[in-house]
Subunit: 303 residues, 2 copies
């Protein structure tokens, strides 16, 4: 199934235009559509039908894009996927209200799930939505704190990034008729590829190839963000370690010498292995193979 | 059933506090709890049980309060029910994110509806939520337009105010086992008391008793708002009529002389009659009587 074509079928030409145009604009920006693809793969991997999962798959993608829209307002981000963000192109009130409507549209799509599966799907979706908001709040809280631990950081990225991937897979598997064990195996796979993805993100920000990475190296360092790299450096070097008054090349050298780069690479490899182990609980087929490849791709990506 | 006691049972002491405290703060502000009461009355009026409707009734109240929270951000309102608004007491980002979570909490409460009734209730709820956002957008759009008609205004207040009251009643009646005809009669009742309520609001802003009204008379006039009063005056006096450069007493005199005050009172009476007619389609009982009284009370209120 071509998920992009399905997303394009959604109609945003309705009135009032001020409400719906920003939703169409946000969804037209593209992206990898990884969440709806995972929902479809979750169903296929357990022998279910893509078509049954489509409403939930679309709901997950619309919800994800809603979170980006409101996050951009809160972060005062100017650009998203190479285009002005909604609150820049329109205004902040439009971004708030169209974002609200976008969340409602996600629930409208979700209501298309077959009636006997709807109660559990709604519960899984609500739990995920809650955890994403909690993750976002922890992310905000951490900016004000100097005593964030690596464990707290891992929990934050689990909530903010991983649960959406994991829930997409679980909902797909549930609608596709998978067993509880299969659902949980796919959920766990999603959690671990999500964590690996985020740490890879933190690593690339430091040691990516500026040519392929697409943005300047060291952005997290300049912003003083408490990433996996920063928190691991402090764990190794002690509580007094800091990046204050250090330029990017100096910090990168310290990350190299302290073994932070190596620790990140090892963590990504370990999380990828955990994800692959979860897949072994399923009957192997072309779709579990696709999920295997995806785990490898994500951990080997350079942008 | 004591709906306030049920709302107080909801626990907002969870972590992260920055996400949940503003939700508890918003819900603790009180208000008339009219929407959950209407949901319960909708069920009782058709012979259903209050207890079955409770999850949906709470969802409606939480959703309503979510709309107030985000509306206050968009309107830059400083005070709500005598207390600082969330974006003043905390900050704007907190108001956005806690508001988002509040909408999710509404859907979590809704997922407590019995499974066989959930698909339709979710659809009714989603339709209502969409219409409220559309009404809010029209309200914003109308501020930039000089050619808004009375019919457009009535449609805007139907979306922004009435559908939530109407849907509360319909969901109550549906869960309570009412027929399609009963559900629609209660929905129509809700639409008409909502419209009457809003026009009464516009009227009181001009001709209320400053002692009982609780705020200064003529606020809408000073802000140049296109209310029922303003639009009716222009309908009677012609397109060149305006409130520009007129003080509040002058405009009030014009409203009186043009017959705008009388037109508003007649419209409120007519809408109240329509609401009462809808109730006649139901078997009379103590709960339909309560709804009758409510229609009379709302149209006779002085604050």
């Amino acid at each position: 199934m071509n998920i992009n074509a399905e997303i394009e079928k959604l109609d945003w030409t309705r009135e009032p235009k001020g409400l719906y145009e920003p939703i169409g604009y946000t969804l037209a920006a593209g992206g990898k559509r990884i969440r709806p693809r995972l929902a479809l793969l979750g169903a296929l991997a357990v022998g279910g039908k893509e078509q049954d999962v489509l409403p939930a798959a679309l709901a997950l993608e619309v919800f994800h894009n809603f979170t980006l829209l409101h996050d951009d307002v809160m972060d005062k981000a100017q650009v998203r996927r190479g285009r002005p963000t909604v609150h820049i192109k329109w205004n902040e009130n439009t971004a708030i209200l169209s974002g609200d409507q976008m969340m409602i549209e996600a629930y409208k799509l979700l209501s298309g799930v077959q009636a006997d599966k709807l109660p559990k799907v709604l519960c899984l979706f609500n739990k995920m939505a809650t955890e994403i908001c909690e993750g976002q709040q922890y992310d905000v809280d951490f900016e004000q704190r100097n005593d964030v631990t690596l464990a707290e950081y891992m929990e934050m990225i689990r909530l903010k990034t991983s649960v959406l991937l994991a829930t997409a897979l679980q909902i797909g598997a549930y609608i596709g008729g998978g067993s509880e064990q299969q659902q949980h195996a796919l959920y766990d796979y999603g959690i671990n590829i999500g964590l690996a993805f985020q740490i890879q993100d933190d690593l690339l920000d430091c040691f990516g190839d500026p040519q392929t990475f697409g943005k300047a190296i060291g952005g997290d360092i300049r912003e003083g963000k408490k990433t996996f790299m920063w928190l691991t450096a402090r764990n190794i070097a002690g509580d007094t370690w800091t990046t204050d008054n250090k330029d990017v090349p100096t910090v990168l050298q310290e990350y190299e010498h302290l073994g932070v780069r190596k620790a990140a690479e090892e963590q990504i490899a370990a999380l990828t292995q955990k994800a692959l182990h979860s897949l072994e609980l399923l009957h192997a087929n072309q779709y579990t193979q696709e999920l295997q490849s995806l785990a490898h791709q994500l951990s080997a990506r350079t942008k």
